[in-house]
């Protein structure tokens, strides 16, 4: 098959399987947070961005309001807008393809596409990873939601510990260097200080504001925290190439 002969398509496929599988942890956590199977599935089908989905159910699980959950998810999704700009610069999709491309613009598809240097391969990588993750993520979300419903008390099997691990796992790959680690520590402290003083869910938004102010006043690398949270290409491999940024200079 021609598609399988493409290196980008193979990478896209393997990343789809790896990412799709952890949809099961999202499904289980979402049902433990009190969302029903339909709501859980709606998040995976329509919102479709792992970090934002975990944020939404994480805030709900902590007793936060719907508006706090929505705000945390929306703020965490802002990076997808930047990915959209990068993919648009690379692939220039038009018409319905652009609408479909937007929905599957996530960490994984962006990382797979920007790691290729040839336009045809960038396109194959983006679509195989994007559509592949979408299909598998949704299937495993359903499996996780049904299993979570059947498992009973989420604390007994440590699902609240799974949520902690999931957020640390999403954060970890973005802590490259001293500065992102410092931002993480400051925002964690702000959250802990805010918990007894503010309604549930609100400390997260205060931490987000602090992070935005740090981004506004400091002068770190422009792409800090924005490297997608996956490394699709084993090292040493093809040199990851970012979208062309006139005047942006070399990123890595």
């Amino acid at each position: 098959m021609k598609l399988l002969a493409s290196a980008a398509a193979r990478v896209g496929l393997s990343i789809s399987i790896a990412t799709g599988l952890y949809g099961i942890s999202f499904g289980a956590l979402s049902s433990a947070a009190g969302l029903d199977v339909l709501q859980t599935q709606a998040l995976s089908l329509l919102l479709f961005s792992g970090g934002s989905q975990f944020a939404f159910v994480g805030v709900v699980a902590g007793g936060g309001t719907g508006v706090a959950a929505m705000s945390a998810a929306a703020l965490l999704g802002i990076r997808n807008g930047i990915y959209g700009m990068q993919i648009n610069a690379l692939l220039r999709p038009r018409g319905w393809r652009r609408l479909a491309a937007a929905q599957v613009t996530i960490d994984e598809s962006t990382a797979t596409a920007t790691g290729q240097s040839e336009p045809a391969e960038q396109s194959r990588g983006f679509w195989v990873a994007g559509v592949g993750v979408f299909v598998l993520w949704n299937l495993f979300t359903l499996a996780g939601a049904l299993a979570g419903d059947a498992l009973g008390d989420p604390r007994r099997i440590g699902l609240d510990g799974a949520a902690v691990a999931a957020f640390l796992g999403l954060l970890w790959p973005r802590l490259k260097g001293r500065e992102p680690a410092a931002i993480a520590v400051v925002c964690a402290l702000v959250t802990v200080l805010g918990v007894p003083l503010l309604p549930p869910g609100v400390p997260i938004l205060v931490a987000a504001a602090v992070a935005a102010v740090i981004g506004w006043v400091s002068h770190g690398r422009a792409s800090e925290g924005l490297e997608p949270d996956v490394e699709p290409y084993p090292e040493p491999g093809p040199v990851p190439r970012r979208a062309p940024r006139p005047g942006g200079g070399e990123q890595r």
Binding site: Y22, G158, G161, I183, T191, G225
Partner: protein, 103 residues
């Protein structure tokens, strides 16, 4: 109140954000401050969510089995375990500590 309106609104905002990236002029990528804020925001939110899920129960703070989950997940990440293994390590640590009598 039902969560449905917030689920739908969150999904709409997420899609609008993604699509906006395809609609704005590509020259916007030249503004490093914008991408910089998107990056620090991502780090800050994930750190905040990690802290909240580890230390808070509603509006009170405490140390319980979830601290063990955080340590187990950190160890798994340090050993370069894949994401799913990290999540399972966190769940197992919390479940085992509770079996041993931790809160």
């Amino acid at each position: 109140m039902s969560l449905w309106p917030w689920v739908v609104l969150a999904a709409g905002l997420a899609y609008a954000t993604k699509l906006l990236g395809y609609l704005v002029p590509p020259q916007l990528l030249e503004h490093p401050r914008m991408t910089r804020i998107a990056g620090t925001l991502t780090i800050g939110l994930l750190a905040s969510l990690t802290a909240m899920n580890t230390f808070s129960s509603g509006q009170s703070l405490g140390l319980d089995a979830r601290l063990g989950a955080l340590a187990a997940a950190g160890l798994a990440l340090w050993l370069r375990a894949p994401f799913l293994v990290v999540v399972v390590a966190g769940a197992a640590a919390a479940a085992l500590l509770r079996m041993a009598g931790a809160a």
